[in-house]
């Protein structure tokens, strides 16, 4: 790998994709043992395992690009919250099954498009990760999308919950497509797309499912979230203090 590829923008871009998987994988793992039926417990755990697997590959790769000897766990567990680059959407609490599934659908659909573009990344390691992860994201989008349809077009209660979930989450999706300085540099180096390029394709994927689910897509509001710039919601700090607990309490211990 040549020197110019290890730009801070490149590292940030890979870290951001890894953090998305890490933080949402952590959220999904909270369901383990508490899902509405046993079958769905299995499904949510599989999704969590996929995401944590992606996070491991991406953070390990980011650590190598950085060249300071930090491994996947040092990056996952020993950064401070301003250094996490995940989308705010990924860190929001699960709340209920409707919010969980609507979020998974909105996010996995985005991930599908991102991985598709990263298949041809000039960063061959990232391209290899994309090839593996794309299959996982497609399944997540399918499963979550099927649930969004069932909840939206199910009972009066499930419809209300799904609509409330969509209303709550939708404003956070604007952040997906905000271009950062890193995006421009990364796009110029053909490492990956600027995320703003994915917006139209994402809407084309997501809107028909929401319509089939009989949900009303909220209008865009001026609300902005900035997780990928390192400015998060209050929720991330709590997630991290739980996740980082052992690494922080016993510095230097091997597990």
């Amino acid at each position: 790998m040549n020197q110019q590829m290890n730009s801070p923008e490149h590292i940030e871009y890979v870290t951001r994709i890894g953090d998305n998987a890490l933080i949402l994988g952590q959220r999904m793992s909270e369901w383990c043992g508490h899902a509405p039926v046993l079958e769905e417990d299995m499904a949510l755990a599989n999704m969590s395992l996929d995401l944590i697997g992606q996070a491991r590959m991406l953070l390990a790769h980011a650590g190598k690009l950085e060249g300071k000897g930090r491994d996947e766990d040092q990056l996952a567990f020993l950064r401070t919250e301003l250094n996490y680059r995940n989308l705010t959407l990924c860190e929001l609490p699960n709340q209920d099954f409707a919010r969980t599934m609507v979020r998974n659908f909105l996010f996995a659909s985005f991930q599908v498009l991102l991985w598709e573009r990263l298949l041809t990344s000039s960063d061959s390691e990232l391209a290899a990760i994309a090839a593996k992860s794309l299959k996982e994201a497609r399944y997540h989008a399918q499963h979550a999308g099927d649930w969004v349809i069932r909840l939206g077009d199910g009972t009066v209660e499930s419809h209300a919950r799904a609509q409330a979930a969509l209303d709550y989450l939708w404003p956070y999706t604007a952040e997906f497509f905000v271009t950062t300085p890193a995006d421009d540099a990364v796009a110029a180096a053909a490492i990956g797309p600027a995320w703003s390029e994915l917006e139209a394709a994402w809407e084309a994927l997501v809107l028909p499912v929401l319509v089939e689910a009989t949900l009303t897509v909220p209008a865009r509001t001026p609300f902005k979230s900035f997780g990928k710039f390192g400015r998060h919601s209050e929720h991330l700090g709590h997630l991290l203090s739980e996740m980082q607990y052992l690494q922080r309490t016993y510095p230097g211990a091997q597990w």
């Binding site: 039926v37 079958e39 769905e40 299995m42 499904a43």
Partner: protein, 95 residues
């Protein structure tokens, strides 16, 4: 009465191409599409399959256990259907 429990589906998995689908268990699911997905999530976590069938349990027609004698015993004396019935000379016995 209002049905509250998701129907039961029987799951059949082909472990690799060239082999039959084999019954491996069941799942509860509200419909066929989710039945396939949860069957995948439950029964192929360790690369056990390349193809899945799900069949709603109610749709399986099974033989009557009481009819076992008349269904299966008559085949018992048709020993001439089995290759070992025929004694051939050693030179051609691998036939």
């Amino acid at each position: 009465m209002e049905r509250k429990e998701w129907p039961l589906w029987e799951v059949f998995v082909r472990s690799r191409n060239g082999l039959d689908h084999k019954h491996c268990g069941s799942v509860h699911a509200p419909d066929a599409k989710l039945a396939l997905q949860v069957a995948r999530d439950v029964y192929t976590r360790r690369q056990e399959g390349v193809s899945i069938w799900v069949v709603q349990a109610d749709h399986i027609v099974a033989s009557d256990p009481d009819a076992k004698p008349e269904l299966f015993d008559p085949a018992e004396d048709k020993i001439y259907r089995h290759p070992t019935f025929y004694q051939l000379p050693d030179e051609v016995n691998h036939m």
